[in-house]
Symmetry: C2
Subunit: 356 residues, 2 copies
C-alpha cells in the first residue's frame, strides 16, 4: 500500500518518535503502526518476530540466565485536534507523545542498537490498552501464548517521568445500595426514604482511615471513595432506592479477594455488590534483575498508586515496574507532550543496564 510507513531505526530517537506519533493509531486502528513496527523489526537478525493481531513480539534467544520483558502499547486515546506532532523547544507535543510512544520509540531503538544484551529480551508492542480489557493485546497474549510473557522481570514503559514506579495498587468497585418504600412526599411518613438511609454509608466513608502499608520500602496509600451516587424517582416521591458506587484502591499486599472482603466488612449491614475488580502488583524489588535496574536508574523508586498493566505480569508471577518518559498526569490530555531529555535518558539508562 502506498501509505505504508517505513520506520528508520537508525535515525535519532526523537525523529523516530515523531514518525510513530504521526501514524494515527487510536485504539482498534493499530494496523498501520503494527505493520510499520513489524516491518522495522523483521530485518534484525538477532530477534525472533511474531505477530498476534496488531500485537508484535520480538525476542532474543541467547540462552542467558535472565529474561526481561520490555512492553509498551501502540494505541492512543481518541484524536483531539492534536496531530501531527510538533517539536516545541525541549518537548515534542501531540497525541501519544506522552502516552506512550516515547516509550515505544525507546523500545525500538533498544531492539535495533543492543543486538547482544546481557539479558535475554522480549519486546512486546501491543494493541488496545486504552479500551476495554477484552481487547487488550497483553491480555489476549496471556490467553493465547502465555509463554511469551514469561520472564524474570518486566518493564512497562508507561509514562512515569523517567522514574521507576514499582508495582501497582489494585482497584475494585462495589455498588452499595439502600432500599426504602415509595410514598408521596406530601405524606412522607407513609414511606421510607432510601436517600436518607444512604447517609449512614457516607458517614462510614467519612470515618474511613486509609491504610498505608510499606512494601519493599515503598509506602502505598489506599483509598475508599464514592465515585457516583444516584437516587430519585420524581420531585414529589420518596425514593425507594439509592446507590453509592464506591471505588476501593488497595495496596498490593492484599489480594482481590481480601480487598473485597474488607469492603464487604466495611459496609456490613448494607447491600453490597462487587461490579469490577483488578488485582494489584507487588513491586518485587527483591528480585536481582529489579535491584540492578533500580541501581542503574540511580536508586529512586516510587510506589505506583494507579492500576496499570504491570498487574498482568504480576498475575503471571513476573515482577514488573513502570518506567518511561513523560508526566503521567498529562496522559489523555489534549496538550500532552514528552520532554526530549526524558526520552533520551530512558534510552540511555536501559542501554547501559543491558550492558551495551
Amino acid at each position: 500500500m502506498s501509505d505504508a510507513v517505513v520506520l528508520d531505526l537508525t535515525a535519532d530517537t526523537i525523529t523516530l518518535l515523531e514518525q510513530l506519533v504521526n501514524i494515527e493509531s487510536v485504539s482498534k486502528n493499530e494496523q498501520r503502526i503494527a505493520d510499520a513496527v513489524e516491518a522495522a523489526l523483521r530485518p534484525l537478525g538477532h530477534l525472533d518476530v511474531s505477530r498476534h493481531g496488531n500485537t508484535v513480539v520480538a525476542r532474543t534467544s541467547l540462552g542467558l540466565p535472565e529474561r526481561v520483558v520490555i512492553a509498551g502499547h501502540l494505541d492512543t486515546v481518541p484524536l483531539n485536534d492534536n496531530l501531527p506532532a510538533v517539536r516545541d523547544g525541549d518537548v515534542l507535543r501531540g497525541l501519544g507523545t506522552c502516552d506512550m510512544k516515547g516509550g515505544v520509540a525507546v523500545m525500538l531503538r533498544l531492539a535495533a542498537t543492543v543486538p547482544a544484551p546481557n539479558r535475554d529480551l522480549t519486546f512486546l508492542f501491543y494493541e488496545a490498552e486504552e479500551i476495554e480489557s477484552e481487547f487488550n493485546g497483553l491480555h489476549l497474549l496471556s490467553q493465547s501464548d502465555p509463554d511469551l510473557l514469561q520472564a524474570d522481570f518486566a518493564i512497562l514503559m508507561e509514562p512515569s517521568d523517567a522514574v521507576i514506579e514499582a508495582g501497582c495498587q489494585g482497584t475494585l468497585r462495589v455498588d452499595v445500595t439502600t432500599r426504602g418504600e415509595r410514598a408521596h412526599s406530601a405524606r412522607s411518613w407513609m414511606g421510607v426514604n432510601a436517600i436518607h438511609k444512604a447517609g449512614a454509608i457516607l458517614d462510614r466513608l467519612n470515618a474511613y482511615e486509609a491504610r498505608r502499608p510499606v512494601i519493599d520500602g515503598l509506602e502505598y496509600h489506599e483509598g475508599l471513595n464514592a465515585v457516583f451516587i444516584n437516587g430519585g424517582v420524581a420531585g414529589n416521591v420518596l425514593p425507594d432506592v439509592c446507590t453509592v458506587q464506591v471505588n476501593h484502591r488497595f495496596a498490593p499486599d492484599r489480594s482481590e479477594a481480601e480487598a473485597a472482603a474488607y469492603v464487604r466488612d466495611f459496609f456490613a449491614g448494607f447491600e453490597v455488590e462487587l461490579t469490577d475488580s483488578a488485582p494489584g502488583a507487588l513491586p518485587g524489588l527483591d528480585r536481582p534483575a529489579a535491584k540492578e535496574f533500580v541501581e542503574a536508574v540511580g536508586g529512586e523508586v516510587n510506589p505506583k498508586f494507579g492500576w496499570t498493566d504491570v498487574a498482568r505480569f504480576s498475575a503471571l508471577g513476573v515482577p514488573a515496574v513502570n518506567f518511561g518518559p513523560g508526566d503521567p498526569m498529562l496522559a489523555h490530555k489534549q496538550e500532552e507532550y514528552v520532554p526530549v531529555e526524558q526520552v533520551l535518558r530512558c534510552e540511555s539508562v536501559l542501554t547501559t543496564w543491558l550492558g551495551a
Copy 2:
C-alpha cells in the same frame, strides 16, 4: 361538527359522568369537552356563561350576601388504555372517573337542578390542571379576570373520598450542593470528595423532626425529604459536585418566604438554591360559609397534606376546601375508578347545603 357531544343534564348523574369520561380530554385537548359543557350550560337562564380558552365560567347573579365558587378541572392525565368508561358493580372505571370528572358531573347537575340557590354560585370548569402551571385555567383566569374568582368560599371538587379536606400544605424545592475538587481515585488525597461531604446533608435530614401544627382544629404534618441525589464524574475520579434535591412540605401557617428561610437555616453552611415554590392554603374553617358546609357534610374534616389548586383561591383571600368523590390515592393510576355512592352523596350534600 359531527363529533360534537350533547350532554344531557337532565339524565341521572352517573350517565352524565359516563358521557364526560368518554369525551377524551387529556391536557391541551380540552376543546371538545369545554364545547360540550358550554353548550349544556348556555340554555340555563339563571346562569351567566362565559368562555376563556377552554375554561367555562357559569355564574348566578341573585344579589345574595354570600358567593361560593365550585371548581373542577376538565383535563386528565394521558390515556393509558383506560377508555371508554366501564360500569363495574358499584363503581365506574376509566380515565378521569376519579380525577376528576365525578366532581365535574356533580357540578353540572347542581348547575342544572339548583336554579335558586341560597348563595350566589360561580361554577368554574377549567383546563390544564395536570400540566405546567402556566397553562392552568385557574391560573390564567386569576390573571385575566380575577373578579370571576372572587367569593366568600370555594369548593374544589378534587377527589377526597367525599370528605372535606381543608386548606393545603405548601411545597418548595431546593438544591443543596456540596463542592469538592476532582482527583484520580488512585490518589484520592489529592482531591476533595463532594459526595462524602453530602453525608452531612443527609445527617441533618435524618435528624429532622417534623412540625405538626394544629390549625382550625386540624393537625397538619410537614415534611423535609431528599427526592433526588446525584454526583459523579467517572468511575476513577473523585467527584467535585454533589447535589441533593430536597422537597419541603410546609403547613399553611407559614408563608413561602418563611418556609424558604426555615430550609436555608436548616441547611446553614451549605449552598442552597430555591428552585420551586408554591404557597399553602389556610383551611379558613372559621368563615360562616365554611362552618355551614362542614355541618352539612356531617362534621368530618381532614387536613389536606398535598398541594392543590385551593392555594390559588387562598392567595386571592378566598378560603377553600377540597371535597369530591373518589379516592385521591387512585388519581393518575391506570385503574382509577369512582364509587357511584360517593358521586351521589357529594351531589346530595351540596344540593342540600345550597338550599334546594
